[in-house]
């Protein structure tokens, strides 16, 4: 369990950048989307999500913007920035290489 938590912790920035790249999204929706798409594997607590979002925003990788809904409620939507897009390309490549290498080692030999 602790190992899984560490794995998630190490990949949180990539997960958030990927999700925000697909569409501008707000905090609550991010938690739900990650849980739905990963079929319950990624269950983020708010205490993990918001510090990470603020860290990415401070680093200039995403940008938060308040939007008022027709109901009058406000939500802070996150958009990816140019810098964030460049960082995402690098991270995607790193993940691809990492997963390919892991599969080569972890998968049982076929012969």
């Amino acid at each position: 369990m602790a190992q899984r938590r560490e794995l998630i912790k190490g990949s949180i920035d990539s997960l958030l950048l990927c999700l925000i790249d697909q569409q501008p999204i707000y905090g609550y929706r991010i938690i739900k989307e990650l849980e739905r798409r990963s079929q319950g594997y990624f269950k983020f607590k708010e205490g993990t999500l918001y510090p990470a979002l603020h860290r990415l925003e401070k680093a200039g990788l995403i940008r938060g913007e308040w939007q008022t809904l027709p109901s009058g409620r406000q939500r802070r939507y996150y958009h990816i920035t140019e810098k964030g897009l460049r960082s995402l390309v690098t991270e995607r490549n790193q993940w691809r290489d990492f997963l390919a290498a892991m599969n080569l080692i972890i998968q049982p030999a076929s012969d």
């Binding site: 707000y26 609550y28 708010e46 205490g47 918001y50 603020h54 401070k58 409620r73 406000q74 939500r75």
Partner: protein, 304 residues
């Protein structure tokens, strides 16, 4: 909003230590999140109380959330670091380049320091404000010291009126900065031990002005160097993220600058005076933490 959740947000706010505009934005974002969460839990069939408790559990510790958000924002940019270090650098240059005897330079510096302090205070007390604020309080201390030179009989009247007023002003500003973050109060008070050290080394009391002007002239390059070291400390403080590192930077800098004073004055600052200054420095830099705790405790008691 349900009371437990309002209390949760209050606790986050108390521990955030961010400037006002950023703080209200973070709290508002968490508030909208909680509203969404509560709505979904109620739609799933939970009672108001059950929904609030489940939501609280999902949110995690208010202190941890606040600390992590605060850490994400606490690292200032290089330009903020430079702006925060600027009053120390300017004071350093004032002495290093021997401009301190020019009344024009001193007045210009005073106007700049006061303007920056007022501007920063008005802009929601950003981190770069506090060194400027510290220097803006120096004229209050300097005026108090000048009272010692008033003719006999007048000085005690002035002291009786001036000292309580000055102490009240210093206390009220200190309390206001502690409410922002006690570490910024320590940042504000940072140059005081070094100034006190140089003051004792120059020995202006019961001596002719010519004597201490000569001493000042003699020490000016080293006084300048001490302020430049303080500038470097402040820039480092603004750039580091972890709180414990910030505390260490302040304490180590206090020790280094006092050692510099003792070293460059060639024994004119006696060992007992040096040791007393170190204790005073530690008290000055760390007592805001205790004062913050006391203020919070008093605030909670009056709220209940």
């Amino acid at each position: 909003m349900v009371t437990v959740l309002s209390r949760y947000l209050d606790s986050v706010r108390e521990n955030l230590r961010l400037d006002c505009s950023l703080e209200s934005e973070v709290i508002h974002e968490l508030e909208t999140h909680i509203e969404d969460e509560l709505q979904e839990l109620r739609e799933a069939g939970l009672s108001e109380e059950e929904a609030a408790n489940t939501c609280l559990k999902l949110l995690g510790s208010a202190k941890v959330v606040a600390r992590q958000i605060c850490e994400a924002h606490s690292q200032g940019s290089w330009s903020q670091a430079l702006l925060a270090a600027m009053p120390h650098i300017l004071f350093g240059l004032l002495f290093a380049l021997n401009w301190w005897r020019g009344i024009g330079w001193l007045l210009g510096m005073l106007v700049l320091v006061l303007s920056m302090a007022v501007y920063g205070w008005w802009r929601g007390k950003p981190a770069w404000l506090f060194p400027w604020l510290g220097y803006s309080l120096l004229p209050v201390v300097a005026a108090g010291l000048l009272l010692l030179y008033l003719p006999q009989g007048w000085s005690w009247v002035a002291i009786l009126i001036y000292i309580p007023l000055a102490l009240w002003l210093l206390y009220s500003i200190t309390v206001k900065t502690i409410k922002r973050d006690w570490l910024y109060t320590s940042l504000m008070l940072l140059p005081l031990p070094a100034i006190a050290g140089w003051f004792l080394a120059v020995e202006p009391i019961n001596k002719l002005p010519q004597h201490w002007l000569q001493r000042m002239q003699e020490f000016a390059p080293w006084i300048g160097l001490t302020f430049l070291a303080l500038g470097l400390t402040v820039a480092t403080f603004i750039r580091v993220r972890k709180r414990w590192l910030r505390v260490s930077v302040l304490v180590v800098s206090g020790l280094i600058t006092l050692t510099m004073v003792a070293y460059y004055t060639n024994g004119k600052l006696s060992l007992p005076a040096f040791l007393i200054l170190i204790v005073v420095m530690l008290l000055l830099l760390l007592s805001p933490a205790f004062l913050e705790r006391t203020l919070k405790h008093t605030g909670q008691q009056s709220a209940t």
